[in-house]
Amino acid sequence: MTRAALRALLSHWMRAPFQLVTLMAGLAIATALWSGVQAINAEARKSYDRAATGIGASADSVLTAEGGVPHAVWIALRRAGWPVTPILEGQVDTAAGPLRLVGVDPFTLPAGELPAMAEDGTGDGAAPALAFITPPGQLLVAPATAATLAGADLPPMVEAPGMPPGTAYADIGIAQSLLGRDDVGRLLVLGPPPLGAAPIADIAPGLSQARPEAQADLGRLTDSFHLNLTAFGLLSFAVGLFIVRGAIGLAFEQRRQMFRTLRALGLSRARLLALLTAELMILSLAAGTLGVALGWLMASLLIPDVAATLRGLYGADVAGGLTLAPSWWLSGLAIAVLGTGVAAAASLWRTATMPLLAPAQPRAWARASEGALRLQGAAALACLAVAGIAWGAFDGLVAGFVLLGGLLIAAALALPVLLHVVLAGLARTAIGPRSEWFWADTRQQLPGLSLALMALLLALATNIGVGTMVSSFRLTFTGWLDQRLAAELYVRADSDAQAARIRSFVAPRTDAILPIRSVEADLAGIGGEIVGVADHPTYFDRWPLVAAGPDVWRRVGAGAAVLVNEQFARRTGTWPGGTVDLAGWQAPVAGVYSDYGNPRPQVMIGLDRFAAMFPEAPDSQFGLRLDPGGVAALRRAILDRFDLPADRVTDQASVKQLSLSVFDRTFTVTSALNVLTLAVSGLAILTSLLTIATMRRPQLAPVWALGLTRRRLARLEVLRALLLALLTFVAAIPVGLALAWILLAVINVEAFGWRLPMHLFPTDWLRLLALSALAAALAAAIPARRLARTPPADLLKVFAHER
C-alpha cells in the first residue's frame, strides 16, 4: 500500500518536471545564498582571529628601548627566568619593492605563533628546521610574496600559506645580519616571571614597558558589515522560500484529488502525511546538497573581495580559500530541510484537515477572495503592531530584530492588498474595452503572482535598505577616517625623550605638531580612556559631533569642558549639559562625538588640562601636519635619523586611501549579493509566470478568439509584469528606507553603541528600478514568447474536446 501510494504521489513529478525543477532550484538557490554568506562570514571571522592572535598579540607586555633592546639585555632577562622573546622588525629594499622583515627567535616564541610551512615542519609549534636558523637561513613568506620576490638576492624562501603578504619571517640572527643591526628590536613578555625572579627594572633599567596594542577597533566596524551579510543571507533565503512555497502549494493543490482518492482507497491520513513529509524531506535534502555546493561556489567567487578587505585592514591573508567544516555542510542541509518545512507547513496542514467526503474539485490555486485579502491586511497590521510594541516596549538587539522582521513580514503581507486597491483605482481610468480587460485581468492575476511579488518586494526593500546602510556606512567611514587620520604622519617614539628629539627635528619641516596623549581611566565604572586633544583647527574643523552645546571647542580648549564619545553618552545618558567625573573634577560635557569602531568609553579634554591632571602620562606619540607632498621624504628622514621600525612612522594618507579602496572592494560583495537576491526574486516571478501560464489559456483564449492577436496578448503580458514590478518597486522604497533606518538607528545602536547617520541615494534607486524592470521583463518574456507562438489549435482546445 505504502509503495503503491508513494509511486502514485511521485508520478506527479514525472508529469510535471518543470514544477520539480522550480522547487529544487528555489530551494537550492535559497540554501546557496544562506550557506554562501555563512561560509564567507566564518572564513572572515577565522581570519580576524588569526590576525588578532598574530605574533605579539598574546603577549602580556612589550619592552622597548631607544635604539632597540640590546642583545645582551635579552640574554640577561632570559637568564633571570623572564619569558621574553625578541621581535626585530625592519625593511629590506629589493628589486621588487620593500619587504617587511620580522626577525623572531623560534626557540622562545610560543608554539603556534609562526605560520606552518608548506613543505616542512618548521613553525606551528614544531621544532625549527636547522636550515631556518643557520646561515644563510630561510625566509618564511606567503606564496604570493615568494612569487613576487623570485630571483631576489635574499636567503632561500619557504612558502607558508598563513603569512601576511609582503612580509617575511626569519630567525633573529639572520634578520640582524640582513638589516645590519645588532639589537633585538623589542621584547615580548609572554607571561609572569618565576618566583623570586628579579624585576625587569633591576635587570634592565632603561626599558619601557607597555601593553601590546589592541587591534579590535576595525574588527568592531566589520562586525556591522558581517551583520549586514547575515541579514542579507537570511532575507535571500526567505525570498528563495517564496519560490519553494509557490511550487509546493501548486503541487499539493494539483494533487488534492489524488490525495482524496488515496484516502478513499484506504490510505490513512497519518500515512499520507508521513509519505508527503518523507517526499519533501528527500527533495529538500537533494536540493540542500546542491544548494550547499552552490553556496560554496558563490563564497569561493566572493571570498577574494572579502580577503582583500581583510588583507588591507588586518594584514590577514585569506587567499588560501575556503575551509569547509562538516558543521557548515550540516547546517546548510538543516536550513534547507527547515525552510522546506516552513514553506510546506500550510499545504500539509490543509491536507491534514481536508474532509474525505468534500467535493473533489480542486479549488482555484492561490485565488484570493476579498475576504482573504482582508484577512491578509489584518495580519499585516498585526505584524506591524508586534513590531511597534517590540520597538516601544523593549530594548536590546532581539527587540531590534523583531522590529525588523515584523516590518518586512507586514510589508510583504500588505503588498497584495495594496496592489489590489491601486489596480482597482487604475481600472477606473480605463478607456476602451482592451484597457478595461487589461486592468480586470491584471487584478485577476494578482493572487497567482502575489507570492512572487512579495519576494520581489523583499528583495527590492533589502537592496534599498542594505544599500542605503552600506552607502551611509561608507560616507561615515570616510568621515571617520578623516577625523582619525587628520594628520599627514603619525609618529610613535620609544620614549618621551626620543619623542622630544623627533619633534625638534621635524618642527621646521611641519605646519603643526599635534601631541596625542591618553591615559586609561575608570569612566562611570567602565574601563575607558581619557584623551588630551590639542587646541588646533585640525580637530575643530573636522571632528564631527553628534550633539553639541554652545562654543564647544573654545570651552574644551580652555579646559572648561570635555567631549565624550557616543558610546559613553548612550551608555550613561550623559549628553551636553551633563557632567562626567574625571578624577574628582565634575567636568561639564560640551559635546558628543561619533567614534565608530571603538567599543570603549572615551573622554576628550584640552591638552593643557590633561597635562596638568596627568603629568605622568606618556608623551611619546604625536601627529604631524605638513604639505602632503613632503610626507614621504619626511617619513624616510625620521626613520633613517632615529632608526625607528617602519611601523612607528605611519603615512596615514596612504593608509586612508588603501582603507577606502579596500572598503569599496568590500562593497562589491554587497553588490553581488544585491544582484543575486534580485535574481532570485526575478526567478520567483519567472516560475510564477510559467506556472500560471498553463492556467492562462482559458483566460486568454476567449480574448484571442474575439480578435486580439497572440502577439498583442504577449506584449500585454510583458507590460503587465513590468507594471506590477514598477508598483512593487514604488512600495519597496518606503519599506527599504524603514529597513535602513532600523539597521542604522536601532540594530547598530543596540549591537555596537553607535548610530550611523542615514543618507539617501536616489540614483541607486533608479538603477535598482532599471534592474527590477529588466528582471521582470526577462521573466515575462519567456512565457510571453511562448504565448505568441502558441499554435491556434492549442488555443482552440480550450473551447472544445474534439478537433
Binding site: A440, Q699, L706, P792, A793, L796, F799, A800, R803
Partner: protein, 221 residues
C-alpha cells in the same frame, strides 16, 4: 455563388500526427447566404470543428479558399484574421466562452466595443431577452452553465456580426436548457439578419437549421 456571404472552395486541412500529416478536411465546398442557417453534423473526428475554426479565422487552411463577403481569409495574416474575428465573424463555443475577469455586462459589451459597434440599448435589450438582467454584475464563475452560454450568445449578437458560428453551443447543457438557449439564439440571429453555421452532434438541433451538411472523414457526405 456570388451572392453568398460565405463561400468555401476545395478546402483542405491536416494536422501533424505521430506518423506524419493527418488529413482532417479534404476538399470541402459549400456556401452560405446572409440570413440563412446551416447545421454541420458528423461523427467525432470528422472535421466539423476544424471547418468551423478555419471559417472563423481561428485557424488557417492548407489549401483552398474561404471567402467571407468576398474576402479570402486564407490570404489574411494574423492581424487580418484578428480584425475579421472582431468585426465580421463571431463564435459561440461549447465552453470557456467568457472572459473570467469581466462581469456579465462587460462580457456582453466586450466584442461590440472591440468592433466599435457598441450600442448600449441593444446590449440591454439582449440582456433582457436572454434573462440576464439580474446577473449583469456577476462574474462568469458565479453563473450556471446555461447562464454562461446565454451570456456568450449575448456577447456574440451584441456585436451584430455578419456570420455567427456556433460550436456545440448546447453540448454542455441539459436538454431543457439546451432547447431554450437554442430557441433564443435562432430568434436573435434572425432578428439581426446574420447567417448562422452551427456544429452539432444533435439531430434535434440540426433539424432546426435550414440546411444540413454531414461530414465524414473530412469530406461532405
Amino acid at each position: 455563388m456570388s451572392s453568398a456571404l460565405l463561400s468555401v472552395t476545395n478546402l483542405s486541412k491536416s494536422y501533424d500526427g505521430a506518423g506524419g500529416p493527418v488529413p482532417v478536411l479534404r476538399g470541402i465546398d459549400f456556401d452560405l447566404a446572409a440570413g440563412r442557417t446551416l447545421a454541420l453534423t458528423g461523427e467525432s473526428g470528422s472535421g466539423k470543428s476544424t471547418l468551423l475554426h478555419v471559417v472563423g479565422g481561428l485557424d488557417t487552411p492548407d489549401a483552398g479558399s474561404v471567402l467571407i463577403d468576398g474576402t479570402d481569409i486564407a490570404a489574411l495574416d494574423d492581424s487580418g484574421r484578428a480584425r475579421l474575428r472582431r468585426e465580421t465573424v463571431a463564435v459561440v463555443f461549447q465552453q470557456f466562452n467568457l472572459i473570467p475577469s469581466l462581469d456579465v455586462a462587460r462580457n456582453i459589451a466586450f466584442q461590440a466595443r472591440l468592433a466599435g459597434r457598441h450600442d448600449p440599448d441593444w446590449a440591454a435589450r439582449l440582456a433582457t431577452r436572454l434573462g440576464l438582467d439580474d446577473h449583469l454584475a456577476k462574474y462568469p464563475e458565479q453563473l450556471s452553465g446555461g447562464q454562461q452560454q446565454r451570456v456568450a450568445i449575448g456577447r456574440t449578437l451584441a456585436a451584430r456580426p455578419r456570420l455567427v458560428l456556433a460550436d456545440e453551443p448546447t453540448g454542455n447543457l441539459d436538454e431543457e436548457t439546451g432547447v431554450a438557449v437554442l430557441d433564443l439564439m435562432l430568434d436573435l440571429v434572425a432578428e439581426t439578419g446574420a447567417a448562422l453555421m452551427c456544429v452539432t452532434h444533435s439531430p434535434a438541433l440540426a433539424a432546426r437549421m435550414e440546411r444540413r451538411l454531414h461530414l465524414k472523414g473530412g469530406r461532405i457526405a
